[in-house]
Point group: C2
């Protein structure tokens, strides 16, 4: 956890992004260590956990990180939590929680409220005109694939 | 939407990943067009929407894509939806919905059920030993920042 905190502090000091750091660990060894880089890279997806997962996957040469754990200085936002889910990481250690992070302005409860239809600052629209073609595509996949999720 | 579908089909044909494509559009112009690349790149975060957002941000040189819209062949998973949220994209058009995607095995309701505590295949643990240092870090940020969320 201390290393994740050090990453967060480094990122904050150099104005790379928010004060968040993360490391991916396998068998007690650090595979990747990163921090939020949204500002530095102009990439809204460059949260610490996303970058740590991407780097660990690149190093290990696989997208399935089920033999890894992740340590993050703050409880993951929904994007990062879902990324951890897709990476099949089973254990997440964090140093401060959602409420702590919301208290300094990173309030991801807004996102969850949005999903539940309580806020309407984002609009999701099903386009019906190509629906049949989209369904055909999914059926083709279904017939072809081993049905892993990724 | 047709272009997003074409991307999805291309990716499926070449075994780059799941049958999903996305484009980011600004003022009627396509900024980026991508498809799921999880298999090709061994990156569990390489969903179509994430890649489209990353590419659009790189091209436009900013992480705030509030002047853009996104078209995606299927309703975004939680990771991608949250990425869209962080990118401040306000309108999402999709060609098939969550239930269609779940029917071929990409069941992200598992993730939502996990968040709600109904499944326990992922463990989140608050590490208390460094909690005070984490909180100090967040307070420092709070004093320094203009409190944008990213």
């Amino acid at each position: 956890m201390q290393i994740a905190i050090d990453e967060a502090r480094y990122g904050m000091k150099h104005n790379h992004g928010g004060p968040f750091g993360a490391i991916v660990v396998k068998d007690g060894n650090i595979i990747s260590r990163t921090h939020n880089n949204v500002l530095r890279t102009n990439d809204p997806t460059a949260h610490a956990e996303i970058l740590a997962i991407r780097e660990a996957s690149a190093i290990l040469g696989k997208f399935d990180l089920s033999d890894c754990e992740i340590y993050t200085s703050s409880e993951p936002c929904p994007m990062c939590l879902a990324a951890i889910y897709w990476a099949r990481i089973k254990t997440v250690y964090y140093g401060s929680d959602k409420d702590d992070v919301a208290a300094i302005g990173f309030d991801d409860s807004l996102f969850y409220r949005h999903i539940q239809g309580e806020t309407h600052d984002m609009t999701l629209k099903l386009i019906n005109t190509e629906r049949e073609e989209c369904l055909k595509l999914l059926r083709e996949w279904s017939e072809k694939s081993d049905k892993q999720m990724y």
